[in-house]
């Protein structure tokens, strides 16, 4: 008994007749270590070498705080907008038939495929005061590009497919029977949708929104052209990292990057825990 449990504790993998375990795992771990883990360790090591007092001083600098607030705040607002419209688009694509549906479905992936720099210059051309929508907004005295609002607009573009593509497959799986039952029991259509159909989709919706948010926080290319990059007003955290690097302020860049990574990982961890809790509660997901 003791011997067999010892054997089990030592067995790194379950036996298999398939070959190539050592070769593939060896290659994967080596590549992962060299390409991803070693460079990340360099960042962590640099962060530790700065020392807590200096680290805190840089992290609480007014310009750094403003940049972090903008990156996280704009990503949050954009994610909320995408929660509403992403759900709408997913709903329309799953539930309704209309001409050109396949093309509309394919268009949703555009932000994944279009390079961020291309999106960036196109968005700033649209929302600038002389652009198609910028001019329209100007009639109402609203300035879109070169303000924090411009940052939000760019992040809405970047984040939308994350919400749609996470919600869509789950919405497809929802059984139509439960809607009939709900209707037979006398619930109105609206009540059926909000209390019977959508609760099945909420865990996926939260995941999609979280993915859009995480992507938005770190987004750089599509934002910097439209943001105007005014320090403390429309300067995002990733841009401030680039500025610090150009000034050879490696400590400054490291601190901002570390703070961003820590907040992002903490949020992802909370969201994972939230989802596990929801799966337990609703028994799906």
């Amino acid at each position: 008994m003791a011997l067999s449990s010892l054997f089990h504790a030592k067995a790194f993998r379950q036996p298999s007749v398939l070959p190539g375990f050592g070769l593939t795992l060896g290659f994967v771990v080596t590549a992962l270590s060299l390409v991803v883990l070693l460079p990340l360790a360099a960042l962590m090591l640099k962060a530790f070498s700065i020392g807590p007092a200096a680290f805190f001083a840089i992290a609480t600098d007014a310009r750094v705080l403003a940049a972090l607030r903008l990156s996280f705040g704009a990503a949050f607002i954009a994610a909320l907008v995408n929660a509403v419209f992403g759900l709408l688009v997913a709903w329309v694509l799953v539930r309704y038939d209309f001409p050109g549906k396949r093309i509309i479905d394919a268009v949703v992936d555009l932000p994944f495929a279009l390079p961020t720099a291309v999106a960036g210059i196109a968005l700033s051309a649209i929302y600038a005061p002389n652009g198609v929508i910028g001019a329209l907004a100007g009639l109402f005295g609203l300035k879109l590009a070169y303000t924090p609002l411009g940052v939000v607009l760019a992040l809405i573009f970047i984040g939308l497919p994350f919400v749609v593509r996470t919600v869509q497959p789950v919405l497809e799986e929802v059984e139509r029977d439960i809607e009939e039952v709900s209707a037979l029991l006398g619930a109105s259509r609206l009540r059926t949708i909000f209390q019977v159909v959508l609760p099945n989709v909420y865990p996926a919706l939260i995941t999609g929104v979280a993915l859009a948010f995480a992507r938005g926080v770190g987004e750089y290319g599509s934002v910097i052209f439209i943001a105007g990059n005014i320090p403390r007003v429309s300067e995002i955290a990733p841009l401030l990292i680039v500025i610090k690097l150009e000034e050879f302020d490696y400590a400054g860049a490291t601190v901002i990057a570390t703070v961003m990574l820590l907040i992002s990982f903490a949020l992802l961890f909370i969201i994972n825990a939230l989802q596990a809790w929801q799966r337990k509660r609703f028994g799906n997901g």
């Binding site: 007749v17 070693l38 709408l88 279009l114 593509r165 139509r176 770190g218 490696y250």
Partner: protein, 290 residues
């Protein structure tokens, strides 16, 4: 009787569907939102590029710096995409065909680059290989240039596109299991033979799909490459960086002209991706995931 069926059907439908008017309104709302938010930027790229006529448009591509940028972008993709393809296949083989300790940790680590800002992906290489970095003095002693040179651009691109192929293959190979490979081995096939004739045909469309997405990102990567490139014109600028340079010089038409190349690549990727999804939906387990 026929009359009854005729009146019953629409009523039964309306109990679990929305009214025609609401349906119509929701479809129009969704399509208008997608048109303004997603399609308009694509249209603007082409209309701005052609604004001053075809001659100015084509002249942008005769610029030596732009040609150098195109060559560098292709070179980077030619190195980074095959590497990540091999990595993706190896990772999915190890993860889906075997059970071992630490598997979920490995999966998390493979996905890690997705949750890191591109700028930070570039920064970590500067801190490792840059002149002030941990390995900087050693590299300088041996006359090896990584940061502000092509190797850094390749590394940063590999980093940001690292999970693409693996993410497409893992769910599919997980679903396929190991029975077919075991049968081939039992019948006397060698390991490589089994992989080439049993596994590969099963995953070829998902592999193509992953490579396609990986390539689109590799050629279009901006943030990470921008940090490690140093923006040396004609030497370390890729197409996205060239777009930035032209745009910041107020050479808008040329910037948008170069952007049409990448927008064209994006359109090509989307069309091929959609064709793959329509034809081989069941062979792409991850088709509906971001």
């Amino acid at each position: 009787m026929a009359d009854l069926a005729f009146t019953l059907k629409p009523q039964a439908r309306s109990e679990i569907g929305e009214s025609r008017l609401l349906r119509f309104a929701l479809i129009i709302l969704a399509i208008s939102f997608l048109t303004v938010v997603l399609l308009l930027p694509l249209i603007i790229v082409f209309s701005e590029a052609l604004r001053k006529g075809a001659e100015v448009f084509f002249k942008a591509f005769t610029e030596p710096d732009t040609r150098a940028a195109l060559r560098l972008t292709l070179l980077v993709a030619v190195i980074a995409v095959p590497f990540n393809m091999v990595f993706g296949v190896a990772a999915s083989w190890a993860v889906t065909k075997f059970n071992f300790k630490g598997k979920s940790l490995l999966l998390t680590l493979i996905d890690l680059p997705f949750s890191i800002s591109p700028v930070i992906s570039g920064l970590v290489y500067v801190l490792l290989f840059g002149a002030q970095g941990w390995l900087g003095p050693w590299l300088k002693l041996h006359n090896i240039e990584i940061i502000f040179a092509v190797p850094g651009i390749v590394l940063a691109t590999v980093f940001v596109t690292f999970p693409f192929v693996a993410r497409e293959l893992i769910p599919l190979m997980q679903a396929q299991g190991t029975a077919e490979e075991e049968a081939a081995l039992t019948l006397g096939a060698s390991g490589w033979h089994t992989f080439a004739h049993v596994t590969l045909p099963n995953i070829k469309w998902a592999l193509l799909y992953g490579v396609l997405l990986c390539n689109a990102r590799a050629m279009g990567e901006f943030g990470a490459v921008s940090v490690v490139s140093g923006h040396i014109r004609g030497l370390t600028t890729t197409l996205p960086l060239q777009i930035e340079i032209l745009y910041n010089e107020y050479n808008f038409t040329a910037a948008f002209a170069v952007a049409t190349l990448l927008a064209g690549l994006a359109l090509f990727t989307l069309i091929l991706k959609s064709l793959l999804e329509w034809r081989f939906a069941d062979e792409l387990a991850a088709a509906n995931r971001p």
